[in-house]
Symmetry: C2
Subunit: 214 residues, 2 copies
Amino acid sequence: MSEKSERLPRGRPRSIDRAAVLARATETFWRLGYEGASLSELTAAMGVSRPTLYTAYGDKADLFMAALEQYGGTYGTAPLRAFLAEAEIGTAVSAFLRIAAEGNTTPGMPTGCLIACCASTAAESQPAVRDRLAEIAEQTAAALAERFSTEVTAGRLSAEPGPFVRAQRLIDMMYAQAVRARSGETRASLMADLASRVTAVVGRPADVAAVKTV
Amino acid sequence: MSEKSERLPRGRPRSIDRAAVLARATETFWRLGYEGASLSELTAAMGVSRPTLYTAYGDKADLFMAALEQYGGTYGTAPLRAFLAEAEIGTAVSAFLRIAAEGNTTPGMPTGCLIACCASTAAESQPAVRDRLAEIAEQTAAALAERFSTEVTAGRLSAEPGPFVRAQRLIDMMYAQAVRARSGETRASLMADLASRVTAVVGRPADVAAVKTV
DNA sequence: GATTTAAATTACCGATCGGTAGATAAATTG
DNA sequence: CAATTTATCTACCGATCGGTAATTTAAATC
């Protein structure tokens, strides 16, 4: 007979939308980097006062790690989710690259990628950031590789290059797009040789219906 | 009868080794990023006092731009120079990637790349940095593409994918290596699928002597 | 050697940095 | 309603930020 929500713990419950407020912090870090984002800019963007920030998220380093997770759960994994959602592997690769390009050049948002650009810069002096980046990359590679592996088993993809090589090639292209977007390249420029890149990963163009090959 | 060195301009001439001192600043920016490198850390690493830094290099933003040039002239262009120095195109691509991997993981130096990681982060709030990054990328792409174009003309490389597509693919791999090194990957890990990547750019392995194909 | 010119140093500037103590306000339980 | 618990805010902390004025030191020309 217990309600889905467990008993509230006595005092005043939270009122702020932690996720929404964190998203504003994420955007600020994304735009200015870890060191470049001051607490004043962060609190102004988040719409909360300084002590609220500290009780809700901890210090600046904690907030950055939280922002990294928030970003990873939305923008960061959007390419992978688009990839996994497509049935045909060439289309999946194409979707991965297209969503990455879009995320790197969303109007009104910072260019590039919080992970590839900002966090990687901060990683040199913050081991926690560096280790988390390594984890994220490994998980993404594993998810991509699993899908490639499935394609190989189903006979829709050659065994060479191996699944992890293909996965790494895709991640490399995503990282590169982030850096290029950050240096001013347009979305169209990032998309320019998309078909060619799809071929470089799967061995054939994306728009060819190869599902029935086996 | 004029000496090679023109007449000294009256007062005390410079005594510091500008290039050497700048190299220390470059390393500091490379390790900590633009915002992360404080003037105290910079002057300590450079071995000069604060006013000396200002008279010699201008303010922090000027110093960073100078560091960018210094880096570009050494580490940044090392892969391209290695590429241009090789006679066989597959070997050239291989050298490009190998030198990039080494530059991203030199023991005792910061990991990754000042351009791809640190400068790209700062580019979002510093238009001068962003514009310079775009220039550097364009020049590098042009130099690589010219070589690929020559190979096509000589019949040693197929016309597709085009020279600029191949060049961009190579630059993308370099950018990606920088991010990956920054997140802790070892030099060996960056080199892992080198042969496969060479094939992805030139269409065949590096160690195949293809010069006589035409 | 006297003069000139600038490099380099010491000491310091106001502003802003990240972070926090103490007071206030709000929403629950009993 | 009274009591309890905690979220939030105002105001402020010492430290450090990037940058500079005034001075001293050093190396050239004349």
